[in-house]
Symmetry: C2
């Protein structure tokens, strides 16, 4: 069998294939390999948004708050908890990943006030590193940014906080959460995990690892919509010990008493700040439901088969054209995307998007990231994407694009 | 003429009456007097949300970022700028009011590091006071919460920041922005105005007053939707002098270079943090357009006529039943809502909502807030609301409700 036939065969045996129909797919020719940046729109979510906008806001108006909106951060959080090995009262959905990361970092540094070092790795998402730099400036900490493989060696008696992306946004490298959490605790440090590139793609067991704190995106593998509010996790026994630095009314005990003295709410609620963006928040729930229905173990199994397949395709069609493999070869250390390196990566990415109807994404300096979202990606799409990539290089289609990148996107 | 006839006459002469048709009004019998908490749904916004969800997210997927999403904070901010006397590059829409208030407070306290006092008033929204308490704890400031009429006297050479609600959420009292900003500057203090209860309801001239910083809600008079992202304003010449304490990637210079060293973006962009919630953010724009089309001076003129009328109705029908007027009598000092006090206010509010199809809101300890949103409220609604309120008291309809208030709402 050739690769096209193999792909067809694997698609025919895929127990998850029916889930693809749960998503809006208007252009069946588009090969979308960026669900790790923005996940697809679930059909149920499209319908729900009419209900939320037209009926809940339009008809119920302010009454919507007591008819469900105020519970959304906890209700959606409780569902995400099932995906990350947490209890239902350990997860909230509110604010952005950056804001939640800031809250939990500040809270951790405050209770660890005798320790002045923060450890992270060079595979972490830059926004997390920037946020650490801002917090370190306020408190006078140093930040050690080490290579991903040597994190444990950087921990010491001065370490206040170890914070890592569970799966690196660039390479897809998985940090061993259980081993590093244990090492951090032995050094007396707290841990803060960014699950943005792992939640919904690989099994996560925060409680099992004894993890202290975590945040994560809902708009990637959870398919929650553009810029959807993020989640935060605080282990149960830490909730009353930590304080949110941002003392907004949604984190206040008995907010509607309108006292002029801040008293943090009991439990996790204190980690909220202001009024949550309901339209964006409501859109998260059904995407999470779909991941729960598909089952994270089945999704992970398919993801491994698909990324393995992508690597075989790379060997056959892309390596001979100068592409390198910039992700771990061993699937135990690899999340659900594969990065291929090429000196013309940015221009090739442009040609794929504009001429080939393939949407991967580019990550500086030379990575093309092929994101596999096992709930909707087919094996056939992977073959086609690689063949179209080969054609871009064979036919020098990328040469009409400039290597200059502009603006914030 | 009796009040009903007067109301009809005033409605017939209302030049803004056509704007009511711009909103979804499914139940013409509902008298909605809580647009100062959550504004109505514009019909255009309902249509837009289908476009944003179904087409932009569903079909364009991650390409939506470069096709408009990334510009939304600035584009909607530039429109709000026209309502608050600001330049178009002085206003951004992002995060919640609480988060934005925190960012600007922390930024202000940092540049005023030699001064250790914050001044606010007892009419301020409690969330702002809580946030100040959190910031003061980090930096060691004292907070003076004074009566609204004596703010200027509390300013001195130790004052780092004067921060006030422009219109008080409870009484509707308007603080004189120009006078108090001038007094603050004479004392060497910066000013941070919360415009949540004034934007879209009364003319605001931040530049004219020389105001330094401001934040405000978009979900009240701007009709942006439940929990819609808030705006922040930083006066042009301060933008490069202040630093956002939350160093997220949307505030980074050249974010997509993914450098591991934070460099704040030029100008206002540095006050963003994480990825903005696009569905909620997109919903803001048309609500702002409607306010611009109606014209803030015409809206204010109608609002004054309507709140005057409400006070006349109170004199005729409610004062004899034990209601007090808890808002300023002089319209120059009053925003667009009127608070009436009554010992049974909470239960009366419940009866109005559940038995009378009137939605005002309750604010502790004894206020019923009647919010006038001149873009959609009619004079006839005001008469009907007051007559239904009188009936609740006459017929003791509130007695079946408990005075116990539960939970966060």
């Amino acid at each position: 069998m050739n690769f096209v036939e193999i792909a067809r065969e694997m698609d025919s045996q895929d127990v998850l294939v029916g889930f693809r129909d749960e998503f809006v797919i208007d252009d069946p020719e588009l090969i979308y390999l960026d669900g790790n940046s923005l996940g697809r729109l679930p059909k149920r979510t499209a319908l729900l948004m009419r209900e939320v906008v037209d009926r809940q806001w339009g008809e119920r108006l302010v009454r919507g708050w007591s008819e469900g909106w105020v519970d959304l951060p906890r209700r959606v959080g409780a569902k995400i908890a099932r995906l990350i090995g947490a209890q239902e009262d350990e997860v909230l959905v509110c604010d952005s990943t950056s804001i939640n990361f800031y809250k939990l970092t500040m809270a951790a540094l405050e209770v660890q006030s005798g320790r002045k070092q923060i450890v992270t790795d060079s595979g972490n998402f830059p926004s997390d590193v920037y946020l650490l730099q801002g917090c370190a400036k306020q408190f006078g900490h140093t930040i050690d940014i080490v290579e991903p493989e040597v994190v444990a060696a950087a921990l010491n008696a001065q370490t206040a906080l170890l914070t890592l992306s569970h799966v690196s946004f660039k390479s897809g490298f998985i940090q061993p959460m259980d081993i590093l959490t244990k090492a951090a605790h032995e050094a007396g440090a707290l841990t803060l995990w960014d699950l943005s590139h792992s939640v919904g793609a690989i099994p996560i067991d925060l409680n099992g690892a004894g993890a202290d704190l975590a945040v994560g995106c809902t708009y990637k593998y959870l398919n929650g919509g553009p810029g959807a509010p993020a989640f935060l996790y605080v282990r149960k026994d830490l909730q009353e010990k930590l304080l949110n630095p941002i003392w907004g009314w949604f984190g206040q005990k008995n907010a509607f008493d309108f006292s002029l003295e801040y008293t943090p709410a009991d439990g996790l609620q204190r980690f909220m700040a202001g009024t949550p963006p309901i339209l964006s928040l409501a859109a998260v729930e059904y995407g999470v439901d779909l991941i729960l229905e598909a089952g994270i173990d089945r999704l992970r199994a398919k993801s491994i088969r698909q990324t393995e397949f992508l690597i075989e395709l790379w060997e056959a069609f892309l390596e001979p054209h100068g592409f390198t493999l910039n992700s771990p070869r061993d699937s135990r250390h690899r999340g659900s995307h594969v990065s291929f390196g090429h000196p013309d990566a940015f221009r090739i990415d442009q040609a794929l998007i504009h001429d080939m109807n393939v949407v991967p994404d580019f990550r500086t300096p030379d990575n093309i990231r092929f994101g596999v979202t096992p709930i909707s990606t087919t094996f056939t799409e992977l073959v086609d994407a690689v063949l179209r990539t080969r054609r871009v290089v064979d036919d020098r289609l990328f040469e009409k694009y400039s290597a200059e990148r502009a603006g914030v996107t």
